[in-house]
């Protein structure tokens, strides 16, 4: 979920116990905690020779990257990107429509509809997939379409939730005001509704993209090995021993693009706020 970071109230600074030294130590520990698992990944990705007792790599090289490229990094990258984009393209408008209709429905019907839409969060994904796999096989749905369909269902709770919270603070009278000032229906949608919902839309699309981009279990069970996405390649590298370089390189290729996307999103949001 994209964090909503607000400037902390300055008066709270003194609430941290431990004095200046303790505060610094705690901050360092927390940063260490959040970055620790990624340190060996970053080192292994550029390590050439790194035998056991050595704390740091003995030689550095791009070996891992070339071996990843030869073991199908680029087709996997493309497959993952397409899957993520497909999930985002389908789940974002569906989430928006669901959020709008929940908002318009009378409360009695809205609650159960919302419950059903959020249900995939409560059901373990592997259970959902194992049950649906039988149905998809009976209906002769192609593997890739089945994976996409199931991932859209998995992503729906996030997009619905994002649009629900965005619409909670959305006032229909903005559009009415624009209409009363002479804007056409299309103009009021384009100049009022879209700008007001851009942040929520990008957040929802980002989350839906992540669902498809990082998925392993749905691709594994429903894809039946035909869909070689990045996580599939990574899983086969990480589950065998002696593949540290490959694991590290593949991990970075999975982690870095969404981080770049997240940074870009945050920067555009800050830019938008200044305007």
């Amino acid at each position: 979920m994209i964090p909503t970071l607000q400037r902390p109230p300055p008066s709270m600074r003194t609430s941290m116990p431990g004095g200046a030294a303790g505060r610094t130590l705690m901050g360092l520990l927390l940063i260490l905690w959040f970055t620790l698992p990624m340190i060996p990944v970053a080192l292994w990705a550029v390590a050439g020779r790194w035998h056991a007792p050595a704390v740091l790599p003995q030689t550095y090289s791009w070996e891992g990257w070339s071996s990843a490229a030869s073991s199908g990094l680029f087709p996997a990258l493309l497959a993952s990107a397409l899957l993520g984009a497909g999930v985002a393209i389908l789940a974002t408008p569906l989430g928006f429509m669901a959020a709008v209709s929940i908002r318009r429905l009378p409360r009695r019907y809205a609650r159960p509809v919302e419950g059903i839409l959020l249900a995939p969060l409560a059901i373990p994904p592997f259970a959902l997939v194992m049950g649906m796999n039988v149905v998809l096989l009976r209906a002769h749905v192609p593997a890739a379409a089945g994976v996409l369909l199931l991932l859209v269902v998995t992503a729906l709770p996030y997009t619905v939730f994002m649009f629900r919270s965005a619409l909670a603070g959305y006032d229909d009278r903005f559009e009415e005001a624009a209409r009363s000032l002479g804007a056409s229906k299309a103009q009021s949608i384009r100049h009022v509704r879209l700008p007001l919902l851009t942040a929520a839309t990008s957040r929802a699309a980002f989350l839906a993209f992540l669902v498809g981009w990082g998925d392993y279990i749905v691709t594994l069970i429903v894809g039946g090995g035909q869909l070689r996405t990045l996580p599939m390649t990574l899983a086969s590298a990480a589950s065998a021993t002696g593949n540290e370089q490959l694991t590290a390189v593949l991990s970075l290729t999975v982690v870095l693009p969404p981080l770049a996307l997240l940074t870009a999103l945050l920067l555009t949001r800050r830019h938008g706020r200044i305007r």
């Binding site: 902390p8 109230p9 959040f34 704390v55 392993y216 981080l259």
Partner: protein, 364 residues
């Protein structure tokens, strides 16, 4: 229909009548009620005792085997023999009355008494063994996985909530350094758990990064990956989910907490007191909700225990997926049963969590 001339009952043309139903409808209804009462009471008792026995059998490795043997032994006894035995046990001058040394008439009439106690006791006794063995048979393999999954989920949730709260407090309190912590924790959010598991493997395995840093000799480093306490699995979940918990708390608190901390400080509260008496209570609903989400997610997640966990006993998702992919088609239904057990465990956790949350809100 009036009884016609006396005809022998099994000769002549067949006639149809409702008379057998209506002539003594009261007696019929009473018998039906008695049978239903006996069935209901016996079922309730048998299920209660049977469930308790099953839980005992599954929980206690040695004594449980004895209980299982004894209850299995009662299965082949016919009900007629059971009824005779219960009669000898519970009748007016039966074994129990003699043991208790009850005077004549002081012992309640179980056999032939008003509440059909002896009958219900006989059914409950025999059927509880059946219930226990069915439960044990259906759960025996899954329940080990359930325990492992619950342990992993509980430990990860606890750790993630603790670190997450500390991180949130730090982010809220420190303007500059807090922003760095917030950025780092936000950056871990989009990392898929599969990547996290691979990274933790590189960090914590026998010849991993940590072992190298600490300069541990071969064999001196504890087995975190695939070790007996699932430490690597729990660490991975705690690492990723603590970032989630921290950001949920920061998002829910940011506006309200500063002024209240000021007020508490004016009233003489020490820094730690402000954290535990002001920030923690305000963060509690967000902490509980995110904890519940983490718990349910951890319970049903596959990748991490698969990469970092033990082979035996396996966590529920690992077992389900292994059985599902097995070439032996008979294991499909077992896979589905395992999946259902984890769905039910998740549902129980959610319902319990929501009840707790409601109570939490009531307290405030």
């Amino acid at each position: 229909m009036s009884p016609g001339p006396a005809t022998p009952p099994f000769t002549g043309p067949a006639t149809f009548t409702l008379e057998p139903w209506t002539s003594n409808a009261g007696g019929l209804a009473r018998s039906a009620a008695v049978s239903l009462y006996i069935a209901a009471a016996s079922t309730l008792l048998a299920c209660t005792v049977g469930f308790a026995a099953a839980a005992y059998i599954l929980a206690m490795p040695r004594a449980g085997r004895l209980v299982a043997a004894v209850s299995a032994a009662t299965i082949p006894i016919p009900h007629l023999i059971g009824a005779g035995a219960v009669g000898l046990l519970l009748s007016d001058a039966g074994f129990l009355a003699r043991i208790l040394g009850m005077p004549d008439g002081g012992f309640p009439t179980f056999v032939g008494g008003p509440f059909w106690s002896a009958v219900i006791f006989e059914y409950a006794w025999k059927e509880s063994a059946f219930v226990a063995l069915v439960i044990v048979g259906s759960l025996a393999r899954s329940v080990g996985g359930l325990c492992v999954s619950l342990y992993i989920a509980a430990a990860s949730t606890l750790l993630a909530c603790t670190v997450g709260f500390a991180a949130a407090a730090y982010i809220l309190a420190m303007p500059r350094a807090g922003r760095l912590v917030a950025a780092v924790s936000a950056a871990t959010i989009p990392i898929p758990h599969l990547i996290g598991a691979g990274a933790v493997g590189l960090l914590l395995s026998d010849a991993g990064f940590l072992a190298r840093i600490l300069g541990m000799p071969d064999g001196g480093f504890p087995t975190f990956v695939g070790g007996p306490f699932w430490s690597a699995v729990i660490f991975e979940y705690a690492w990723k989910e603590s970032a989630f918990v921290a950001l949920v708390i920061v998002g829910s608190l940011a506006r309200s907490v500063g002024g209240l901390c000021d007020a508490a400080a004016t009233l003489g509260a020490a820094p730690l007191q402000r954290i535990t008496h002001v920030v923690l209570p305000l963060a509690l609903p967000a902490l509980a909700v995110s904890g519940l989400i983490v718990f349910v997610y951890t319970l049903g997640s596959y990748e991490v225990p698969w990469l970092l966990g033990r082979i035996s006993p396996e966590a529920l998702p690992v077992r389900a997926v292994r059985l599902f992919g097995s070439i032996d088609l008979d294991s499909r239904p077992q896979a589905m049963a395992t999946a259902l057990v984890s769905v039910m465990a998740g549902a129980v956790a959610i319902i319990g969590g929501l009840i707790l949350l409601r109570r939490l809100r009531g307290l405030r």
